[in-house]
């Protein structure tokens, strides 16, 4: 009990640090605006706020206010910001699941978990330095290329930025102690100290994440300001706590874990393919399996967090929501479909091939072809666009702007059905994999299985019925209602599946698992996952940012730079492709460094060594 308190105390400390940022007053710039500007700064409830006297309105920019460096400023910031986000996501996510793995290792007295967690951290540590480098470069680029915008952001966030800097120092200190103190604090009570350090590290890391998120969400849905002028009227807490802040916090927190799991999975796959001994293969196979497990487990609830974020965007500004889901940007969701289906297919394929590790896997192999059919059909529905650009003769032959059969598949209700069915069958793959190495012995196993099958059937029927009925036979307002039923049905399958299996596995006979007994081909699924995740993160980040259209801060500070347009989709594709390739190069560097640190040069032969060797024979 005492040890639990030692473990929980830091949580309270981190919470204090996190909320402490809300106590800082919002720093405002010196009063140099006109009296009209100040008097115009009225709080949203109509009352004048005392801080208005020291607050300036958002600047109205001209094209000449932007430095011309001869190339696109947006492209430069785009690349650097995205790289910073990739590495930031990695270094914040890896310690989260590393802490969980470490705790499992400690509780089970299994050193394999501890070694694996330590190795994951090795990857994260190199990424941390790169994150900081890109973060610094990003800040410099923004101040250089968008000085007025950054001036306004500094006006809004003020001393919160210093809190961020302090947290960054704390994160660095904790990260280094956590990694380098691993072996010194490995056993007994010292392990609790190490776990506490890990918890503190994650607390500070998550606080960093939510602080940085507030900058993004302020740009999308500003709060704590006068909407007419942009003058700061609220406290830093009011500025941070915009309508999109918590949805983005949740979405990024989960997505980071999925992304981090996928990247370290690629590391494991790389090491598996390079392994020379069976023991190495077994270790990295297990490491790859664990990474995939983390990535897919975190990925499954991600659509729900994404749904919440999008619903809040719609609630904040219907125009913004429609631009993302029904305007120019909506076309990019065709690629999102390709990417998510790649993730699901790779994740499923890896689980199916993984069943070869145990003899028990044969029992469930027949399922895979049906799951594959659902995945492929789901993918086809998801990528079907609502309409495409037709020629006049094509429209005449179709008898309208939409294809009579494929048109209905192009709208959200059809896609929702596809997505939720794909998630349900992915969970089925996961469940089958977990059952593959077990022989269930509980007396009620038939009832348990019947209950599980019933839950699957009812959930699938719910998803299809709600999608068709609400999607096609009711008014638009009720279409959203169908998603709630579909989300709940999918969640019920996942939660009840985990609960039923946990109860059924009690006293189950465990079959031997032969780690390393998977094909090399299966490892390519572990490469496909991070590539698709990376492309997806860059794409969705672009969409989230682009819904602001020609606004630096939506409806408050207009973007008058030469880049204030939404580029053609191929340009977006080129940018995202380039950024993902650049990330791949840096990831290879990280893998190489992580590998290098474990490489020891063979000492050169000294004079007399051969004589000694001969004498020893």
């Amino acid at each position: 009990m005492h040890s639990i308190w030692r473990f929980l105390l830091p949580v309270v400390m981190v919470a204090v640090i996190g909320f402490g940022s809300g106590l800082f007053p919002s720093t405002t710039m010196a009063a140099s605006g006109t009296a009209e500007q100040h008097s115009a700064a009225i709080n949203s409830d109509g009352a004048e706020h005392e801080s208005i006297a020291a607050s300036l309105p958002a600047p109205k920019l001209k094209r000449s206010d932007y430095p011309n460096i001869g190339t696109s400023s947006r492209a430069i910031v785009w690349v650097i910001a995205q790289m910073h986000l990739f590495f930031g996501a990695l270094v914040l996510a890896v310690p989260i699941f590393v802490l969980v793995i470490e705790l499992i290792g400690f509780k089970t007295n299994d050193d394999r978990y501890d070694d694996m967690a330590h190795e994951f951290m090795k990857v994260s540590l190199t990424a941390y330095a790169i994150t900081a480098l890109f973060g610094g470069t990003l800040a410099l680029s923004l101040f250089l290329l968008y000085p007025q915008f950054m001036s306004y952001m500094m006006q809004a966030f003020g001393s919160q930025v210093l809190v961020y800097a302090v947290l960054f120092f704390l994160e660095s200190i904790l990260l280094y102690i956590y990694y380098y103190g691993w072996n010194a604090l490995r056993y007994g009570n010292r392990k609790w100290v190490h776990l506490t350090l890990g918890l503190l590290l994650n607390g500070v890391g998550t606080t960093l994440l939510v602080v940085a998120n507030s900058w993004s969400t302020f740009m999308m849905a500003p709060s704590g300001i006068d909407p007419a002028t942009g003058a700061v009227t609220g406290s830093i807490w009011e500025i941070m706590k915009g309508p999109l802040w918590n949805p983005l916090n949740l979405h990024r927190f989960i997505a980071n874990i999925a992304f981090g799991g996928a990247v370290v999975g690629a590391y494991a796959a790389f090491k598996f393919l390079a392994a020379r001994t069976q023991a190495e293969k077994a270790h990295y196979d297990w490491m790859g399996y664990t990474s995939n497990f983390i990535a897919i487990l975190a990925f499954l609830p991600l659509p729900f967090a994404g749904y919440w974020l999008m619903a809040e965007i719609y609630a904040y500004s219907q125009q913004m929501g429609i631009l993302a889901m029904g305007g120019i940007l909506a076309w990019l969701f065709v690629i999102q479909a390709v990417l998510i289906c790649t993730i699901l297919m790779a994740g499923n394929y890896y689980l199916w091939t993984g069943m070869a590790r145990t003899e028990g896997g044969e029992r469930y192999r027949w399922f895979t072809k049906y799951i594959a059919v659902v995945l492929v059909l789901g993918f086809l529905v998801w990528v079907t666009p609502h309409n495409v650009i037709y020629t006049t003769s094509e429209i005449a032959r179709l008898g309208g702007g939409n294809h009579p059969v494929l048109g209905p598949l192009g709208i959200m209700p059809a896609k929702n059905i596809a997505v939720f069915l794909m998630l349900i069958v992915t969970f089925l793959s996961f469940q089958l994999y977990r059952r593959a190495d077990k022989v269930i012995t509980v007396a009620w196993q038939d009832w348990g299985n019947a209950l599980m099958i019933t839950i699957y059937v009812v959930a699938i029927a719910n998803v299809i019925f709600a999608g068709i009925y609400y999607g096609y036979f009711t008014n638009t307002v009720y279409k959203v209602g169908s998603s709630v039923i579909q989300v709940m049905s999918t969640v019920v399958v996942i939660v009840s599946g985990v609960v039923i299996d946990t109860l059924m596995f009690k006293g189950a006979k465990t079959l031997p698992v032969f780690w390393g007994k998977v094909t090399d081909r299966s490892q390519y699924a572990l490469f496909a996952l991070p590539i698709a995740f990376t492309w997806l993160m860059a794409l969705m980040g672009y969409i989230r940012s682009s819904v602001r259209t020609h606004w630096h801060v939506y409806a408050v500070m207009e973007d008058k730079s030469p880049d204030n347009f939404i580029p053609p989709l191929a340009t977006v594709g080129n940018m995202v492709t380039g950024i993902t390739l650049l990330f791949l190069v840096f990831v290879l560097f990280i893998f190489w460094i992580a590998n290098l640190s474990g490489t020891k040069q063979v000492p050169p032969a000294r004079e007399g060594d051969s004589t000694l060797a001969e004498g020893a024979q």
Binding site: A315, S317, Q318, G327, I328, I335, F565, A570, V572, L584
Partner: protein, 272 residues
């Protein structure tokens, strides 16, 4: 090294494959709205209506929601002027407009004045509209642009265009202030009579003119429908002994028409 080459090739190929999908999509560029200079003096009503149509489909971003997908009523599928009058008469109407022109203007500036059933913000019981005021960010239409959209919405179903052509461009920084400066609509029949200069030809109340028949007893001579018909189409039936010179009033709104018709129907006595 060998272990790295094949996965690396696989990863690069996959990245490029994802990128290639973007080339299969329509290549549309989303330009930021540009402030087009309107030479007010050069505008004709036709070009003004065309400007309204362009704004409706472009900078105004109206079609983002007002389309077939059902996010907002699809204004292009029904007679907006006629429906506006019905909505003014609806007890749920909270605005101040008395005619379709005023209603359409109001609906853009204060969208919550009347929310069509089923299109309100969630949880507001159709009392609050999700539509942003078009004169405010992010849409920020000028007064001229807003009136042009009204002109387009009136004309698209063949209704008379009642809005007046702008006579002077508002100063860019004073758009908000000038948005309220639209000429006031007539509030009573006397103002309608004054607006359309009826007294120039007709005797009405205290004014005397013999160019056209007196209106002081028109309520005794004509049925209400005949009064209405004679204003809508003055040449359909010419009063005996008077020249056919009465003009049509295409800019007269339905509210103005009804106001004056009701007023004239009550004029049954010859004024001294």
């Amino acid at each position: 090294m060998k272990a790295l080459v094949k996965p690396l090739g696989f990863c690069v190929a996959l990245i490029l494959a994802f990128g290639s999908v973007t080339y299969m999509l329509p290549q549309i560029k989303g330009e930021a709205p540009k402030e087009e200079e309107v030479i007010v003096g050069a505008l004709t009503m036709d070009s003004f209506i065309a400007m309204g149509e362009k704004l409706y489909h472009g900078k105004g971003t109206c079609t983002l929601c007002h389309n077939k997908l059902g996010r907002a009523p699809d204004l292009l599928t029904y007679n907006v002027v006629q429906v506006s009058l019905e909505q003014i008469a609806d007890p749920r109407y909270q605005g101040k407009a008395v005619d379709a022109e005023g209603y359409l203007l109001e609906s853009m500036l204060q969208p919550s004045a009347y929310v069509v059933k089923g299109f309100g913000k969630k949880g507001t019981n159709d009392r609050e509209s999700p539509m942003p005021a078009v004169d405010k960010p992010p849409i920020q239409l000028s007064e001229v642009a807003i009136v042009a959209i009204v002109a387009y919405l009136q004309k698209k179903d063949g209704n008379p265009v009642t809005v007046a052509l702008p006579t002077a461009a508002p100063e860019p920084d004073k758009i908000d202030e000038t948005a309220e400066a639209k000429p006031a609509l007539p509030q009573n029949p006397e103002e309608v009579i004054a607006k359309y200069g009826c007294a120039a030809c007709h005797s009405i109340q205290k004014t005397q003119s013999v160019i056209g028949p007196s209106l002081n007893d028109v309520g005794k001579r004509l049925e209400i429908d005949q009064i209405r018909a004679s204003i809508i189409d003055p040449k359909a039936e010419i009063a005996s002994g008077f020249p056919p010179i009465m003009p049509e009033f295409p800019a007269m709104t339905i509210t103005e028409l009804e106001m004056i018709v009701q007023f004239l129907a009550k004029q049954t006595e010859v004024q001294p």
